[in-house]
Amino acid sequence: MVTSLVIAPVDVPESRRHKKRIGGITIPTWIGVGLLALCALLGLVVLLAPPFRNLWTAQDLRATFLPPLSSGHPFGTDNLGRDLMWRTLAGLGVSVAVGLGVAFLAVTLGLMVGIVGGYFGRAADVTSNIVIDVTWAFPAILLAVVFAGWLGPGLLTVVLALALTEWAGFSRIIRGEVLSLRERDYVSAARVLGRNKVAISLRHFVPNLLPVTLVLAVYFVAGAIVAEAGLSFLGIGAQPPTPSLGSTLAQGRDYLTRTWWPVILAGGVLTLTVLLLNSVSDQLREHFDPRIGRRR
């Protein structure tokens, strides 16, 4: 997934170059970031705050498959009579948690391996390359399925499996960046001053790698959210009673002849979240990479 992001360059429409900026960042980006933060906060609060728990767990078998706009259930209910609005929000919370967890782990691991590979000598480089290629032999979903056989299905399995595959592509990019950063004059200066490699990495590489990291981290969040939903859809991710957009979709599919609503709702929320994340990431990339803006 990651290489494809690297290969696919961002196209910036002519019009976007002259947009107004606040703090150097365009207004649509701010709106995107704000919306994302709002959704994430809402989802996490509904998922984690005890007062909301009852809202998304309560079942009512006398009120199953209620259509949207029913009294008390603005978005209707599912096959067990659970409120779809609260279910979706709690599911979004799970998505956000999984996305952030995967992004954090993948970025940390990828940064470490990338810097070690790019700066700590030939042996480290060869070893890290082999590890990356082995990791790359497994599509993320395949590894998650294999992990599910090992650790049993669940969200932890999903987070670990995704983090342990997604770091590899990221690490390759970091290695490439480090190869160019290590030739800079200030790095030579630091070495002349007697700084060791770890200190140089932390002081000079990490801050310079932050823009790339941030842009890719947002992609990781989007990718992880989709993958979690997909795995939960297969029954390998979130286990009942944990809410998940993927599980809602799986249930919706079983009752597709009866109602489309859960599928539309959960699928729509999932798609919009990913769309928002992708566009924010694209805009951040444009912001951090002046070359893109100047290209014709």
Binding site: A8, A137, F138
Partner: protein, 311 residues
């Protein structure tokens, strides 16, 4: 030539390590295969013991691995723990379905993606370009299982237009192939478009135009040829993504391929089947990236100076 040998040797090394990973992940797994077939509470211990002995589960783990690999290299993947059929036969049945599905998706993605990208790039800023931009963004954002469910709901359940499950006829291939192709198609289209736009603005294009070479000739003979390098390298990456997605798409459409078989095997803890499938899928990915690397070197002479192994 020495690079070719080196690259293949490297691929074999990677495969060996990948086989260790699948083996370890699936054999060291808690909840042994034996207890998922025989109820430990009601089966006499000696029966369980005999079963373990028969499956070689009492040997040290490295010996299990050596035995396993020795068998695998002879084409013997063991027997399914559940229906006692040879794993090889089970997979052979499923493999054909997956190959057909993945191939159809691959052809759709590249067959439609490259022309769409080229047309969009040649008409940059035109209506076709704008439509393509919107459609590709949409397809890249909508998770493919959501797309699958929507298509099932609209074309299958509502209109009863296309079959939505099973593999009883060629029409069953249409929906899964379309769903599987949606994301790679978008990416191919975008990458092609950007590459062509880049080549159109390159200095040599301007020179050719100044020399009076016809636009048709520039576009077809020069621009397209140079623009295809990133598309080729995208191809080998796409195979990895495509195989990952077959797991989900096959389950949704009940397509009896390797993906749905793997999910079944994992959920049932049928380790021989699961590890053989995981190994096979990894092998396909490794082969694809090796072939992709070699192909890229053949297509683009500039890469030859670079000795780094890239997958």
């Amino acid at each position: 030539m020495s690079y070719v040998i080196k690259r293949i040797g490297y691929a074999i090394l990677i495969m060996f390590l990948a086989s260790l990973v699948t083996f370890a992940a699936l054999r060291v797994a808690p909840g042994s295969a034996v207890t998922s077939i025989l109820d430990p509470a009601r089966t006499p211990p000696e029966v369980i013991e005999r079963y373990k002995e028969e499956l070689g589960l009492n040997l040290p783990i490295w010996q299990q691995y050596v035995n396993y690999m020795a068998n695998v290299l002879r084409g013997n993947f063991g027997t399914s723990l559940f229906d006692r059929r040879p794993v090889f036969d089970l997979i052979a049945d499923a493999a054909l379905y997956t190959v057909v599905l993945a191939f159809a998706a691959f052809v759709l993605a590249f067959g439609l993606g490259v022309p769409a990208g080229v047309i969009a790039a040649l008409n940059r800023g035109g209506w076709f370009d704008r439509v393509i931009r919107w459609v590709t963004s949409a397809f890249m954002s909508i998770p493919n299982f959501v797309l699958a469910l929507l298509l099932v709901a609209i074309l299958g359940v509502k209109m009863r237009f296309l079959p939505v499950s099973g593999a009883s006829g060629p029409a069953n291939l249409i929906l899964p192939a379309l769903v599987l192709a949606a994301d790679p198609w978008s990416l191919t289209t975008r990458v092609t478009r950007t590459a062509v736009v880049e080549q159109l603005g390159a200095d040599y294009t301007r020179t050719l135009r100044a020399r009076g070479v016809s636009r048709m000739r520039i576009n077809w003979r020069h621009v397209l040829r140079n623009a295809l390098t990133p598309v080729v390298s995208l191809g080998s990456v796409q195979i990895r993504t495509l195989l990952g997605y077959t797991l989900i798409v096959e389950v949704i459409f009940r397509w009896p391929g390797m993906g749905s078989q793997l999910v079944q095997a994992i959920l049932k803890r049928d380790y021989p089947v699961a590890s053989a499938l995981a190994l096979l899928l990894a092998l396909v990915v490794v082969i694809a990236s090796t072939v992709g690397d070699l192909l890229l070197r053949a297509v683009d002479p500039r890469i030859r100076s670079n000795q780094a192994v890239i997958s």
